[in-house]
Symmetry: C2
Subunit: 489 residues, 2 copies
């Protein structure tokens, strides 16, 4: 393909996406396809001869569109949002087009430096204490990861290696094999409300993740954490890292950071804060109360690619002492050495798991500049308001009970009575596919999560979702045996 | 930003990239900036108010361009290529615009299914045995990872967990803590010529990576591997995984797969093949001799994002038994359950480290269709030819010696005589910045790697590089003391 064809194809693709996003409200949020549908639509082998890009665009409509779940439909209320914005899309394309790989400073200085600068910008925007920023004295700094999963795993691995390093310093006579054996005693801690990726980090890092039972507010309390740590210490195990969550996946609960930090500090444990979803709200000062005590943490992560309009992937991680990352992650090779090492700019390959990395800071920079802080704040506030609106609608119908009130963009609820009612409602919603929500079971209670996800969502979309909820609830009670109706009829 | 502004901004960005790539030959491949340059050009905080996209595009020229290393300049001959093509760029943008997250089949059926299908296409294109493909009976299949680093780490972790699982099956009375302790005995193996990411996978997975000294052809021989394994077994250690490399980073050497597979099979060890760079050449049947014995491996990885014109990131991994991945990687949560599980399509979150994932198959599909197999083969062959051309030029000047002849797109060489000569030449080249090459030291010998990287590289660019090499070599011998000139003058 030559540059002229690229200009035509690229511009047609821009129009394709603009048309798609302008009309995404009218599409059914969940597709009707069955597993394996695409095999019937595409050939079994790649074509031998080049095909015209117009044919490929046509096949977008024929083969891809029918099987898409429309994450940016205003009727998408499942999980948490994944970001999408026009500046973010262009930023991603620009990054692909320049096609640099910024594993060392020298391999693409602009890529590294823009990341350092925009992560300082972002850190200031969310009120992060200066010791996490590159522009402050010390060893703090930010880095973009692909996902919160990677950020959590990275911190767990660094905490693990830090423990071994310190043990070796205290006992220089320990052999490598003896040091390795001590790793089998490490344990990690998080709330049982934490994201699946936190437990997975424990599996991957071979450090079992103790899932601390949350309290009645779905938070991991300092006292429950302490009890678990003390029990492990009695067994001769070694606490290594605690992962606190701001904005848990089931109910958007916030672990009390200061309380947890006190425990971590007492036992010398790494404290990582996973604010994957909720972190974006910290750009609004009125939400900063949730991260009270953050100055005591070792690392903090949130995903601008969730709720801050930067397309996936863009997960921001800050650490207080980047030397610990570098110590755990460095593998030096002659071909990676360059003349400007140690000149005050990071070689980001040592701040992450993989070697290669895209120029992800570009899309973050585009979004921050083209929206500006004020518009991003407005966006967060508007989304929170819509969740409250939905809560009000729920409160107006006494068949429903609020499980957790609107917090950030999430409200959770259930049908009064046995779980069967709520599960039936979920099944009805899944079948009708007019809106997309997911359920969960917390503390033995089935509930439904309703998250404001799309940037296109308005109050009339919330009403649309509410009407669907009412219709499907009517069907639940029409078909349930009388003794399960909880007296509504 | 509204859709209309996006249409304008997006199209301006398409033109920006087309202009950039059409003129990248004229830019100095390495930038002149010093670390910290960008802090002088950008404000210390994000803007409060929205900025016009035109201002951002202007700043691309003012702040970004001066600090770019131009990976797609035909004068870039460092590392290995990172891919860039017009269809790949548009595919990346399309993926960003649709903005789906395909962690389960239901979360975006098209995303999962296109990945399954295109990885079957690609597997067939490189002649992968059917047991690695989804379209064959059994549990084989392909998945896209972000990088070869992740693919290697993933396989190491799966091999580690498989070992523990099997041990538990044999000894059901072992406690969790006892099982954990056995992990401290695991060891992994790779050539000392393998990529830094392989050693790093060992560090991250807490399984020490034995770097087997390569033989005189820079290959890991079966006998050296066997000797290391037997020595470890005598120490009571447990061999867990062997990573073979096709196309090592220093010299593009290929480990002898069949020989290594025989050792792996004898000792029951997972055999992973990392063909990050060279794998793309397997689309040309004449190069398939390098993967003779691949049918005996457990997993195979190569990066279309290196040498097959799909923009980073797009790293293809195939496994023979995907159940082993799923067993090691699954963490189930109610909110991730969907009604179509177990219907023959994968939930790819269980095939990778993170939870989230982009719709990366789109760009692969665009590239495969818009180039077609034949054009991609032509491309690989043309790049190999250019490396051979450069070798011929080297052979015509008796100050140089070939370190390893052209293989794929790489040739390595040095100046005759002491390492000082070659190191001086490298320093001169780094200073003049007309071409970008990196050096390495292998077996005590300093050498320079010359890789054909850009898709724009032509024979006249190879001549340009050669002329620069001759000029800088002249300077080496002009400034070196007489006894170091090796008699050339």
């Amino acid at each position: 393909m030559d540059a002229q064809s690229f200009r035509e194809f690229g511009k047609a693709a821009i129009d394709y996406l603009a048309d798609y996003l302008e009309n995404v409200r009218d599409k059914q949020v969940l597709p009707n396809v069955e597993p394996g549908y695409m095999r019937k639509l595409l050939p079994e082998e790649a074509p031998e001869e080049p095909e015209d890009w117009r044919e490929v665009l046509k096949d977008m409509d024929r083969a891809i569109m029918p099987g898409l779940t429309h994450w940016h439909s205003p009727h998408f209320h499942a999980f948490y949002p994944t970001a999408n914005s026009y500046p973010g899309i262009v930023g991603e394309m620009m990054s692909a087009g320049l096609g640099t790989i910024g594993f060392t400073w020298m391999s693409s200085p602009a890529s590294t430096e823009l990341e350092v600068i925009t992560l300082d910008w972002l850190g200031k925007m969310i009120g992060l204490p200066p010791q996490f920023l590159s522009c402050s004295p010390g060893y703090g700094g930010g880095v973009l990861q692909g996902s919160a999963s990677e950020a959590t795993l990275l911190c767990l691995l660094v905490a693990r290696e830090r423990y071994v390093q310190r043990l070796h310093e205290k006992n220089p006579s320990l052999t490598e094999q003896e040091l390795r054996a001590t790793k089998a005693k490490l344990v990690a801690y998080a709330s049982d409300q934490s994201n699946s990726s936190v437990e997975k980090a424990g599996i991957l890092g071979s450090v079992p993740m103790r899932l601390i039972p949350a309290d009645e507010k779905f938070q991991m309390s300092g006292s429950n954490l302490r009890a678990a740590i003390e029990a492990d210490l009695k067994e001769g195990l070694v606490p290594c890292i605690v992962i606190s969550t701001l904005g848990t996946t089931p109910t958007c609960a916030n672990d009390p950071l200061r309380e947890i930090a006190a425990v971590c500090s007492e036992f010398g444990i790494w404290h990582h804060v996973d604010a994957a979803y909720s972190g974006a709200a910290l750009i609004c000062p009125e939400y900063r109360y949730i991260c009270e005590g953050i100055e005591l943490a070792d690392s903090f992560n949130f995903n601008p690619h969730k709720w801050m309009l930067v397309n996936f992937d863009c997960s921001a991680l800050w650490v207080k002492d980047s030397r610990e990352l570098v110590a755990a992650m460095s593998v030096d090779r002659a071909y990676l050495v360059h003349t400007q090492q140690d000149a005050g700019m990071p070689d980001y390959r040592n701040w992450q798991i993989p070697l290669g990395r895209r120029f992800r800071a570009l899309k973050l920079w585009f979004v921050l500049r083209i929206y500006g802080v004020k518009k991003l704040q407005e966006y967060i506030r508007a989304q929170c308001k819509l969740a409250t609106d939905f809560e009000m609608l729920l409160r107006g119908d006494d068949r429903f009970e609020i499980f957790t009130p609107a917090h950030m963009g999430l409200v959770t609820f259930r049908l009064k009575g046995p779980n069967e009612n709520t599960n039936k409602l979920m099944a009805n919603l899944q079948k009708s596919k007019k809106i997309y929500v997911v359920g969960a079971e917390v503390g033995g209670k089935a509930m439904i999560r309703f998250a404001i996800c799309s940037r296109f969502t308005t109050f009339s979309d919330v009403e649309f979702a509410w009407n669907e909820m009412v219709n499907q609830t009517d069907k639940v009670f029409l078909t349930l045996p009388e003794n399960a109706t909880n007296g509504h009829f």
